[in-house]
């Protein structure tokens, strides 16, 4: 699998993502600056975490207009797999690649801690390595991860099986106590209608190695590598 990580001014989790991709695929991803550089032909495009353009207006709003995003959208429309994590998820929503928007956490604070995610669906290319209903532990690190969409949109997402991860207790139960940011219906990750773009707030890339305290996030990258093996 060939992959590329897009770097905007202010992106800061490209290293974490590269480490995870290397661990799962044995290959280094291409790191692509948002302007003036061509996006190479790859099987996976990653929009990583950080604070693109400082996130000063709305998170992801300015990144959504970066020159490279038009190309990312075009590739996604053609079926290329896109993984959008945290700030990448925010940018993908702002760019209209995914429905909804990420609002400030209800606690109005930055939250960095491990959370539990219930895998709602086991689908390639993203979650084929996990069973539906499995609970994994991965960290969140964000100030604006409160997923919001209107009721019709949320119903449609659920009806079409596009909610991929939900915040939960370690045993899979749902509840406000386990939701770190107030997301509607405890949604932590969704895919687009085609199923080739996944947006999620948590950082699976930060738990892929026993020395980091766990490996629950590795399955996502191994699943991608397996599904997208050239």
């Amino acid at each position: 699998m060939k992959s590329a990580i897009v770097v905007f001014p202010g992106t800061n989790r490209e290293r974490d993502m590269a480490l995870a991709l290397r661990r799962a695929t044995g290959r280094d991803p291409a790191i692509v600056w948002h302007s003036g550089e061509a996006l190479p032909k790859v099987d996976l495009i990653v929009l990583p975490g950080g604070f693109a353009h400082g996130d000063y207006l709305r998170c992801g709003a300015m990144a959504a207009h970066s020159p490279i995003m038009a190309e990312v959208k075009k590739r996604a429309d053609r079926g290329v797999t896109v993984l959008a994590v945290c700030n990448g998820f925010q940018a993908a929503c702002e760019a209209g690649m995914l429905p909804g928007v990420l609002m400030p956490n209800v606690c109005l604070q930055f939250v960095c801690r491990d959370v539990h995610l219930r895998v709602e669906r086991s689908v390639r290319p993203f979650t084929g390595r996990y069973n539906a209903g499995t609970v994994i532990r991965v960290p969140v690190a964000h100030h604006d991860g409160n997923y919001y969409a209107d009721k019709e949109t949320l119903d449609r997402l659920e009806g079409e099986g596009r909610v991929i991860f939900r915040y939960s207790a370690p045993d899979g139960t749902l509840g406000d106590a386990h939701n770190p940011n107030g997301s509607a219906r405890h949604i932590a990750g969704v895919v687009n209608a085609k199923g080739n773009v996944l947006g999620m707030m948590p950082h699976p890339e930060d738990l892929v190695d026993p020395v980091m305290g766990g490996t629950d996030g590795l399955g996502l990258f191994q699943g991608l590598a397996e599904s997208l093996a050239a």
Partner: protein
């Protein structure tokens, strides 16, 4: 013309007054200091010149009260590449890599505007580190707030923590460790000390000494505004009730611009373009240009019209003294301008050639084609006043006789109160607002002794911690200074690291008072002794004096930031034991030292007594033993003993692992409370599944090791099989205080 010859009086800046004694006083210069200025200038200075001397000679930049004592600290050793005197200290960590680190205070600005004050403090210390060519890989913060009941405290805690997170998180540097205490002595003067650790190639360190006559001086980063003019002098003056009303312009941080500046600087540093580089911190363009020229023994000429500004009609005074953030000054090799400009343009940052180096030894400032400032560089640095201030030593307080104390008999009740007290409660509410995982290298997270970040692809890691126990320093400065160093050394040891070197942040009151000066001297002497005994050199540091409001000083607070090396991160341990059945073992001797302890203060309401003595030989012996045991895989967890003593540390270990703990009776001959809560130094708790072997090993080295009890699958902490308290109840107390405190509505007080 020689450097000290009289120069023609330059053109005065627009609207700039001539100097009066009143203006001199406002600039914090004593009359005799001003006389010295006139003498080396050979004439009266202009406003901009006066401003320049006043910041260069401020306590903050010149260390005039502390320099004499700082010189007594050990600053060399086999790992030291660069000691104090540069933007940050540099040590060799093997494999061709160097660790670059420093700590700095932003106390006064954070009191006035907590969010921006703390944020720009973090931004400033990171610039100090990446200006030397290092990529920041870990941030720490040492915080001291006032009485929780003080009307301002909650607002300050909320703002400072959000500000530190706001800046560090955006920069993508994990904030992995720190400390946070509360005491009424800080109600009017909080302490916000920030530390950054970076990694560089050992042979690619960048320094600030200018070289190459004719070379261009280049300004990069953000534009200059009228922010924080005279921050350095503010940091060198006492507060009074009306200093809030005066409200000097506070700087607003722009972490996004600094993130771009970081990436642009590191990109340019990978080429051969840079001769010298220095960040603009306190006293901005003044400090950076003067220090670069002085270190290179050269002169510098600046054209102020070329400085990128974001406001109109800025005077030379304002441009030279502005403390706008996110700016750097560099000297480039000839012919590298275009290449350098392209790098900064890629990141949409300002890049301007603002001057060049000369042979004159003078700082010459031009605006509108006219010379507006002309002064010799050397005296600005070398003739800065140096004071040998009178001091009185703090008398050793009486040792408290534990046998005479009336104490509650409920040990577990006291434990619960201590675990839920402001100083000992969990600081999770703080560190969860900090991105402590970004970069994907955090091996040991906040919550234990030291934090550990992986180096490159591993297997090595860096361990970091920051420590100080101000109440010991207050009781007996010399003991307190030594204890701070010893505790930092212990915290590194507790994760299995080799302690390598330290940085410090010396926070005190007004040094012109002999009693305060005595605290400064005592603490530095204690630190020096401990650093020598533990082979733990000081490679950088910062001094913050005049932390007083209406004559009330803070507790003496010499914070020690320390860095250690972990040879194999797979063999690190945390404070969490691995399984039920393991034995808890105490390393080190307990006399039940209760003077100046948290127990005495929180349970008995008394702040008095001699602090626990620091036996540096015992520290070294016990620490070396523990480290060896960790490395050999003989212990599964380790926690050093500090605030709150044995029972607090044991409970923290049980909570971290979510395991129960059955503890044996107190040591015979000691009052029970003194055994459980005494704060004797040089002690560790370790957990092991082979206690016999460990105790035998210890005996061979003449080290006291004693089994204390067993971790269990039950979820309670039990004393002598009799009294018991559930982990849930302890956890609620420990985790509950800070979030509950911060959930009340926050007014600005």
């Amino acid at each position: 013309m020689t450097a000290s010859a009289k120069s023609k009086t330059p053109t005065h800046g627009r609207n700039e007054p001539t100097i009066t004694p009143e203006i001199v006083r406002e600039h914090g210069l004593k009359p005799e200091e001003y006389d010295r200025v006139v003498q080396f200038m050979g004439r009266e200075p202009t406003m901009v010149e006066l401003g320049i001397v006043s910041v260069m000679w401020s306590e903050h930049c010149s260390y005039k009260s502390s320099r004499r004592w700082l010189k007594t600290l050990p600053t060399s050793g086999k790992v030291v590449i660069q000691g104090p005197g540069e933007n940050a200290g540099v040590i060799d960590i093997g494999g061709g890599l160097a660790a670059v680190f420093k700590m700095e205070s932003h106390n006064h600005p954070s009191f006035i505007e907590p969010y921006q004050g703390a944020a720009t403090g973090v931004g400033g210390i990171m610039r100090d580190v990446f200006t030397m060519g290092a990529r920041p890989v870990a941030n720490l913060n040492a915080l001291r707030f006032g009485d929780p009941k003080h009307p301002k405290t909650r607002h300050l805690v909320g703002g400072v923590v959000a500000g530190i997170g706001g800046y560090g998180n955006c920069m993508g540097v994990p904030t992995v460790a720190g400390e946070c205490n509360f005491h009424a002595a800080y109600s009017g003067n909080i302490l916000v000390n920030a530390m950054t650790v970076g990694i560089a190639s050992k042979d690619r360190i960048f320094y600030s000494a200018a070289a190459g006559v004719g070379n261009q001086v280049v300004y990069v980063g953000a534009k200059t505004g009228r922010d924080g003019i005279h921050g350095a002098t503010m940091a060198s003056a006492e507060f009074s009730d009306d200093s809030e009303a005066k409200r000097p312009t506070v700087q607003v941080g722009d972490p996004f611009t600094e993130k771009l500046l970081l990436e642009a600087c590191l990109e340019l540093m990978a080429t051969d373009a840079i001769v010298a580089i220095q960040d603009m911190g306190a006293a901005g363009l003044t400090c950076s240009s003067v220090e670069m020229a002085d270190k290179g023994g050269l002169g510098v000429e600046l054209d102020l019209d070329k400085v990128p500004v974001r406001e109109t009609h800025m005077t030379p005074y304002e441009i030279m003294l502005s403390e706008s953030q996110e700016r750097m000054l560099m000297v480039l090799k000839p012919g590298r301008e275009d290449m350098a400009r392209k790098v900064f343009q890629k990141y949409e940052l300002d890049f301007a050639v603002v001057g060049h180096l000369t042979t004159t030894g003078r700082l010459i400032l031009k605006q509108g084609g006219k010379v507006v400032g002309d002064m010799p560089v050397k005296p600005l640095v070398e003739q800065a006043p140096l004071y040998d201030r009178p001091f009185v030593e703090t008398k050793a307080p009486a040792v408290i006789d534990t046998k005479t104390l009336q104490v509650p008999s409920d040990i577990l009740g006291s434990l619960k109160r201590l675990l839920g007290s402001p100083d000992l409660c969990s600081k999770r509410w703080i560190w969860e607002q900090y991105d402590h995982l970004v970069r994907g290298d955090t091996v040991i997270r906040p919550g234990g002794d030291a934090a550990v970040v992986r180096l490159g692809d591993g297997p090595k890691g860096l361990a970091v911690t920051s420590d100080c126990t101000p109440r010991y320093c207050q009781a007996h400065p010399k003991t307190g200074g030594a204890q701070a160093v010893a505790e930092a050394w212990r915290n590194l040891t507790s994760v299995g690291a080799d302690p390598l070197a330290v940085t410090d942040n010396l926070n005190f009151g007004n040094p012109e008072k002999p009693a305060i000066m005595g605290q400064i001297v005592g603490c530095i002497q204690g630190m020096g002794e401990a650093c020598r005994a533990l082979d733990f050199p000081v490679v950088s540091g910062n001094v913050s004096l005049y932390n007083e409001t209406n004559g009330e000083a803070i507790l003496p607070t010499p914070v020690i930031g320390a860095v250690g090396l972990v040879p194999d991160i797979a063999r690190c341990v945390t404070i969490a034991p691995k399984r039920a059945g393991e034995t808890l073992i105490l390393i080190g001797v307990t006399q039940g030292w209760i003077g100046a302890s948290v127990y005495l203060r929180e349970i008995l309401g008394r702040e008095e007594g001699a602090p626990p003595p620091v036996d540096l030989a015992a520290e070294k012996r016990n620490g070396d033993f523990v480290r060896t045991a960790i490395r050999a895989g003989r212990v599964s967890a380790c926690h050093d003993l500090s605030d709150g003593g044995l029972l607090v540390a044991a409970a923290e270990m049980a909570l971290a692992a979510n395991l129960g703990l059955n503890l044996d009776p107190a040591q015979a001959g000691l009052p029970e409370f003194a055994w459980w809560f005494g704060e004797d130094q040089a002690r560790y708790l370790v957990s092991t599944s082979d206690p016999g072997a460990l105790i035998k090993e210890a005996a061979k080295s003449g080290i006291s090791a004693k089994g204390l009890g067993t971790f269990t699958a039950a979820s309670a902490l039990t004393l002598q099989g009799a009294q018991s308290i559930s982990l849930d109840e302890l956890r609620r107390a420990h985790e509950g205080w800070l979030p509950a405190y911060m959930s009340a509505p926050v007014a600005k007080g």
